[in-house]
Symmetry: C2
Subunit: 356 residues, 2 copies
């Protein structure tokens, strides 16, 4: 039978016989080999982890399965989170499936269209906060103190536990950990989770090496890279538009322990990687996801050798989450034509079996 | 290593040593057990096959991997299709990944937002035809006669071959075929493919029974159910808005051989099932996908026993493909509030640990 992350990796998760096996089919996402960017960089192998193939379209589902299992086990009836969109979609989906009332606080006007459509479809209660993610998050933390409600942001340790399963899958697919893992950094829960997963697998003898952890923020929203809180974060990569990450200290620890880095990439680099992924690799991710690839492409300039290395870039969310960015950046014009063979052939300048 | 459908099922596919193993991570999609609708109907087990978890968000990727492998093997440099959106997204993705120029003809004004965003992101050439799918399809068939180009609609037999792998996965997960399979019917390629897959697995001794094949069209676009071409098909389920299906005869054969049916469901039934899937099962699919569930829910009224049966509903595409329908139908209002604990607590009428 098809299993989610709890069923597949229960030996590595804090579950007991009484933990409900919550699943919506999360995990088991594709690891796809690069055909263009990897060869161009001279990588031994470059792979994309397509987390957008999770049931709500982002990596958040892995940790949400664990967090909801825990909420059910402890008898909670309500869950809450602040979100740039992906966490709220995931919380709303698992909440509706398991009969939990879901309250999400999102920054008004800063959440991509698809993510709002999801939270609405799943029937969450949505508060649009006049401020940014950090304001919404602070408000949520205040509410958690006065409500009988489960916090399902990545400060919830069960979220991190579920998310670490993505590292297990990378090792299961490659036969070992890669030389480096590149990941977008927003609230910094994901880089923390992957590092935990790689370490647990190595300790269990299931991998021989540990990767260098390479985290990338958007330059207009790069508190960890800059070493200071950003009060008004700005970036096209809305999923990582966070100025004061909850897992900041943990991200620094991961960077230091793994010999990695947390750096930043400009929006133009992100969008260039985003389009290149779609046009050359056939992978449509959300803009924030492409920060991992934009970061990888900067490494040679920063003096980090990628030639001959094995690298995995985590593509955290589905491009369909943010159709607006695709439409505005793709610069493709639809061509209108009558449903008539001659009209179409003429438009295509059909000549000797081809078109111009 | 992670494999796509060609790598996983090559023994059942028309591939040779010289066929390139084309993949974008398609297949291996979740089979998720119903928690609400199945128990309500008294099914022994009801499962949803989440084909929206494929890399471009629909089941089309399975067959496209095969069709593109074939196009490459025969030296084609260009591919073409008519599409209500999902086929064009898939063709554009695999086309870009494997360096094939992709030309898609879509009915102008009838394709869901996310699907157009995908084709644009992947860089396809998009002709918006002034007419419906059937007009676009007829034009494509004319072009195929005069251009050196590979047709990747489901008339391409390699598409059907790739798509049958979904039936293999259902049997692999359940240990046998279900008693019935419910599937939306548009161009009728998918019902044809599943039936082929179930038969091949049974012949190979990998399953003991064959399912009844239950296909459902939208009532405003139900040529097969009505037994006559529909000149102006109309339905909210844009993915199956097809009045003259290419695989019509094959669909009738599958119905008869399997002791199944091809029936129709009203748009209101489709939308009701669509919202119920999101609100009770945590599954957000596109409207056309929900026709399979709306159809299943009608069966008791049609005198078909579902109590005690095992059924699989194929949810063909991701809800993110069509965010507009979610927004307009979810009837959820976002509530705007300042990022202030007291303001939010007051809005929630926080009282004794809860809210109203």
């Amino acid at each position: 039978m098809f299993s989610g992350v709890i069923g597949r990796y229960k030996d590595f998760l804090p579950v007991s016989g009484s933990t409900p096996e919550v699943t919506l089919g999360e995990g088991g996402t594709p690891l796809v080999r690069s055909r263009s960017i990897g060869p161009m960089l001279g990588c031994e192998g470059l792979y994309f982890k397509l987390e957008g193939c999770n049931p709500t379209g982002s990596f958040k589902d892995r940790g949400m399965a664990m967090a909801i299992a825990r909420a059910l086990e402890t008898g909670r009836e309500r869950v809450i989170c602040a979100s740039t969109g992906n966490t709220s979609a995931s919380a709303a989906a698992y909440g509706s499936r398991y009969g939990l009332e879901t309250l999400v606080l999102v920054p008004a006007g800063e959440v991509a269209l698809g993510k709002l459509a999801q939270a609405m479809a799943y029937g969450a209660r949505i508060l649009a906060v006049g401020g940014n993610f950090d304001d919404a998050f602070r408000t949520v933390m205040g509410l958690v103190d006065i409500l009988d409600i489960e916090l399902v942001n990545s400060l919830n340790p069960y979220r991190i536990q579920g998310q670490k399963t993505a590292a297990f899958e990378v090792v299961d697919d490659l036969g070992d950990a890669p030389d480096m893992l590149c990941v977008p950094v927003g609230n910094a829960g994901n880089i923390t989770s992957y590092w935990l997963g790689f370490n647990e697998y190595a300790k269990a003898g299931l991998s021989r090496k540990l990767p260098r952890m390479m985290g990338f923020q958007a330059s207009g929203s790069a508190p960890i890279a800059l070493g200071r809180r950003v009060d008004n974060p700005e970036t096209v990569a809305t999923a990582i538009r966070i100025g004061n990450p909850a897992n900041w200290e943990s991200a620094n620890r991961v960077r230091d322990e793994s010999g990695g880095m947390i750096d930043m990439v400009a929006d133009e680099e992100i969008l260039s990687a985003y389009l290149r992924l779609a046009r050359e690799e056939g992978v449509f991710c959300e803009p924030a996801s492409a920060a991992s690839v934009a970061g990888l492409m900067r490494l040679p300039d920063l003096g980090v050798e990628v030639k001959g290395k094995t690298a995995v870039c985590v593509l955290t969310g589905n491009g369909l989450k943010d159709p607006g960015t695709a439409e505005s950046r793709a610069l493709v014009e639809m061509e209108y034509v009558a449903p008539d063979l001659e009209a179409v052939a003429s438009m295509l300048s059909v000549d000797a079996g081809g078109w111009r």
